[in-house]
Structure formats: structure tokens, C-alpha cells
Amino acid sequence: MNRFLEFVKKEFYHIWRDKKTLLVLFGMPPILILLFGFAISNEIKNAPIAILDNSKDEVTQKISEKLLSSGYFILYENLDSYNQIEDIFRLGKVKQVIIFETNFAYKLNSEMHANIQIISDASDPNTANTLLNYTSKIVMDYNLEINNNAKMPFVINTELKMRYNENTKSAYMFVPGLITIILMLVAAMMTSISITREKELGTMEILLASPMKPIQIIIAKVCPYLLLGLVDAIIILLLGVFVFNVPIKGSLVLLFAVGMLFITTSLSLGILISSVTSSQQIALMISLMGLMLPTMLLSGFIFPIANMPLALQLFTHLIPAKWFNIIIKDIMLKGSGFFDLWKEILILIGFTTFFILVSLKKFKIRL
């Protein structure tokens, strides 16, 4: 036991004295949270638009007012002619141009219909789509409003409810997602680097020649990262709950238990990586390309898995982070319990056992 504690103490010296490690451990989580929380947001507010009003009557005035008071748009410029549209888009000053046809109010009253043209800058298709939806909704609302005066014969009303995230806040998506990413980063990348460092320096040989068993060495090396991973998860949870008001509806105990499970999964991946290479550089590259990239792209954190081609969807089953992302989201947002999630949890346990067995085997062969 004494041996083990001495070893863990030594690991903490390594971590404490390396600025880069400390930065990744304690700088990364808050920075990522704040970046995702404030800078990278898929909610759009105050998008600059331009209006070309060829009619300038009370109806077009009213619609414009409605658009601009919605909070989604701010008026960049009132245009006078079609020629200006191309230029203003080219300059990148506006995201959307709204064009009312001539004699808008007159046509609406006499011919019962009038046209609004919406042109969006689709060089960023997601934003263009979202803005288009906002505009159509506002125009539809106005449409309903004036129709209430002159009763329509048949109307189908749709009532929307966004369950588990009523205001479709992106924090609900990125807080659990970031926990997944950071745990993967800390547990897998940092351990693989710390073990390969020992190999690179030649100290691993000394350790293996000592009475400590290989398995003890590995456990002592990953132990600090298990703790630090938990600390990081707690930091993110606290920031998520108190800064972005993300709820934790399910059981905290279950949340921490699966958190530990996923850290173990990642640690075993880290050990696996360090058993195939003895260079820190290569370990870093494998961690980034082989773990971080798929975790970011294919775990459903940023891109919805349902939108992927079938082959890729099947491939995501192999990404442990995908399963953890489902589990943690369901616990936090839906309040799911163990019996709702046992399948996903079992899959994670399966992955972990597999990785541990393979890395143990590799470690033995090397000796």
C-alpha cells in the first residue's frame, strides 16, 4: 500500500509541475464551457437584415415592425432598388433581404393575396434556414391575425411543445456533450501520454525491474487521472447548473456512477494506446485523431446521428462516447433511472472490459 501511495504521490508531482498538463486539466473545461455557452451558439439573435419595401404602405410597415421587434433581426439598411441586393450580400453586411412587392396592401385587399420575397445568404446554410423559419413564422402569425377578423372556413392549429428542453437552449446539449469530451480527453489522452513518457524516458524499464507488478504500475499511473477526471466533471456540472441553468433531473449517484464507468472506459483506451506505441507524439496523435475527432463528430454531440448516412450511423455504435452521451443526457434532462438505461450502461461495461483485456494482453506480449 505504501508503495502504491508513493507512486500516486509521484504522479501528482508530475501533474502539478507541468504547466501544460495543468492547463488542459483545469483551464480547458471552463474555457470550453464558456466558448460553447457564449460564443458558439445555434440560437440566432439580432441577425442583420435589409428590407426593400416597394410599397411602403401600412401593411408592409406593420410586417416590418413585427420582424424587427421579434429580437431575431435588426435592420441594417432600407434598400431602394433591386440592384443593391447583390452588393449588400457580397459585402456580407446582411444575412437576409426581405422584399415587399409594389401595391402590397392594395393587392392584399383586392386580390386577396400579396407576395413577400425572402432572400437568404445560404453560404452558411444552417443560419439561413433558421432565419427563414423565423421570418415565415412571423409572417404566418400576421396572416392569422388579419384572418381572425375575416373568419377562415377551416383552420388546423398546431401546438408545439419542446419536451425536456422547452426553450431549445443549446446549453442542454453542450453541457452533457462537453462532459463526454473532457472526460475522454483527460482520461484517455493524458494517461496515454503519461505512460508513454515513462517509456520514452526509460524510467518504465526501471519500474518494471522493481518489485512492483506491471498491473500495479498501470493502476498507480491511471489513478490520479480518475480523480482529476471526476473533478473536471464536477466543474462542468457546476458551471452548467449555475451559469446556464441546465437541470439535473435524475439521480446524482447514478450520474457519478456512470461518470466513473466512462472514465474507466477512457482510461482503458489510454492504456491501450500506450501499449501500442512508446512515443508521446504518436500517443498524442492517436488520441486526437483516433479518439477526440470521432468523439466530437460521431457521438451525436454536435451532429445529430439520425441525419447521418446509414453506414455512418452503424459506425457510431462503435464509439463509446455515443453511449455515454445518451446516458448522461437522459439522466440530466429526462431524469431517467438505471432501468431505462441498463442497455446503454451494459454496452459501456462491455467496451471497457474488452479494452482492458486487450491492453493487458498487449502489455504481457511486450514483456
Binding site: 505504501n2 508503495r3 501511495l5 508513493e6 507512486f7 504521490k9 509521484k10 508531482y13 508530475h14 509541475r17 507541468d18 524516458l201 526509460g202 524510467t203 524499464e205 526501471i206 519500474l207 518494471l208 525491474a209 522493481s210 518489485p211 512492483m212 507488478k213 514483456l367
Partner: protein, 243 residues
């Protein structure tokens, strides 16, 4: 079994596929002896040494280290040996005290003994002022002397030194050898690989390896006589040329 020997090796071999890195070597090392294990790079020295330390399994042959079998008793062997590799073996980002404590700790010394040994080592080298300095701030020569002292901190029966003096100047090498003599005087068996031929003269007995086989074995004087050479360098040259 014979208690006179710390290391007994019989027909030991290690094959990697069809390549015989170590090819049927046999030798004994007496207790308290300084045994030089010489050979050019790639002659199989490190592979042989790794087998003796329990870091690698032999393909064939027998060996006993401190009386323990290298197939069955690797755990016991590891407790009885110290090991210092050609790469510098202490941690650069730990200070001297922490390094000593760590290695003494993983060899299972109790806390009282660790404190005692730490203080003893620090005062022996007069490093009271540097005990809290990170090791990376110390000169290479110091680091190597400290690495050796740490390798024998648990008073092992045998210490294995793999090219311990690589890259240091002759004066520091001389000082390093004084430490080795001191350890040998206190009864530690020293098994050292080197390719500095002047160092070979410091050993009581040496073996020379070439292409996985031991081609010469004896005291430096015996070897010089049988190859009618003036110094070890010449002996080595003659062996390498194959006469």
C-alpha cells in the same frame, strides 16, 4: 546449490524469430565481484541483461539470480536486484529528496528507513543545499552518481548497470567507479555493461560478447596475456577481427 555465486547462467538463449540475439551463453559471477559485460552495440548485451533482470523471458537455458530461478521466481529476483539503465533513470521534474523517497518507496522500504537513507545519501554527497532542487537543474555527472546510489538504496544483493557512464567526462566516470567499488566492498555484486575499454580495466572479471556469443571470459590481465595485447582496447580489436 552453490552459495558462492550471485549469478549462474547455463546455456541461456534468446531468439527473435530466426535471429539469435543471445546464443547459448554460460558464466558465473561470484558474490561481491565486479563483473564487466562487454561487447559492441548489438552484440546482445542488453538482451542478456534484460533476461537476468526478469524483464524478458529467455527462449532456452537456465539461470539463477541470487539463488532464484529466472523462470519461476522473477518476483523474488526483482526484490534482490537494483537496476540502472543507460538512459538516465531519475525523474527530472522531481527534486532529489522526492526521487529518493519514490524509489525507496516502490522497493518497499518503511518510512523510518526511507528518511534515514535519504538523509544519509544527502549528507554523503554534501547536497544539503540542493535537496529541494529539481533534478533537471543538476549536472549530468551528479545525476548519474545519484541514480546509482538510488539503485542500491534497498541494499540489493546484485546491481545491474546498463552503460551507466554514457556521455560523462573521464573525471566523473572515475568518481562513478569509486561508488561502484564502495558498493562492491560492502558485498554488493556488480554486473556492468560498458563499451568504454578503459572501464573494462576496473572490473575484476570481464566477458566479451560478439554476435550473441561470449567469445572471451576472464580477468583483464588474463585476457591481455592470452591475446598478447597491451590494453583492453587491443584485446577488443583482436576479438572483433576474429583471431
Amino acid at each position: 546449490m552453490n552459495n558462492e555465486f550471485s549469478i549462474e547462467v547455463e546455456h541461456l538463449s534468446k531468439h527473435f524469430g530466426s535471429f539469435r540475439a543471445v546464443d547459448d551463453i554460460s558464466f558465473n559471477v561470484k558474490k561481491g565481484e565486479i563483473f564487466g559485460f562487454l561487447g559492441a552495440n548489438g552484440a546482445g548485451k542488453s538482451t542478456a541483461m534484460k533476461m537476468l533482470c526478469g524483464l524478458s523471458k529467455p527462449s532456452a537455458g537456465k539461470a539463477k539470480i541470487a539463488g532464484f530461478d529466472i523462470y519461476k521466481d522473477t518476483e523474488k529476483i526483482k526484490k534482490s536486484i537494483g537496476y540502472m539503465s543507460q538512459k538516465f533513470s531519475l525523474y527530472d521534474d522531481l527534486n532529489l529528496k522526492e526521487n529518493i523517497q519514490f524509489y525507496a518507496g516502490i522497493y518497499g522500504l518503511n518510512n523510518n528507513l526511507i528518511t534515514h537513507k535519504t538523509n544519509e545519501l544527502i549528507s554523503k554527497f554534501g547536497l544539503e543545499n540542493s535537496a529541494k532542487k529539481l533534478l533537471r537543474e543538476m549536472p549530468l555527472g551528479w545525476k548519474q552518481k545519484l541514480a546509482f546510489s538510488v539503485a542500491v538504496i534497498h541494499s540489493p544483493e546484485i546491481v545491474f548497470l546498463d552503460e551507466p557512464t554514457g556521455g560523462v567526462d573521464p573525471i566523473t566516470r572515475r568518481q562513478f567507479w569509486e561508488l561502484i567499488y564502495e558498493a562492491a566492498d560492502s558485498g554488493v555484486t556488480v554486473f556492468v555493461t560498458t563499451h568504454y575499454m578503459d572501464e573494462a580495466e576496473y572490473c575484476q572479471r570481464i566477458s566479451m560478447m560478439n554476435a550473441g556469443k561470449i567469445v572471451a571470459l576472464g580477468s583483464p590481465n588474463e585476457l591481455k596475456n592470452s591475446y598478447s595485447a597491451d590494453n583492453m582496447d587491443e584485446v577488443f580489436q583482436k576479438i572483433a577481427r576474429g583471431n
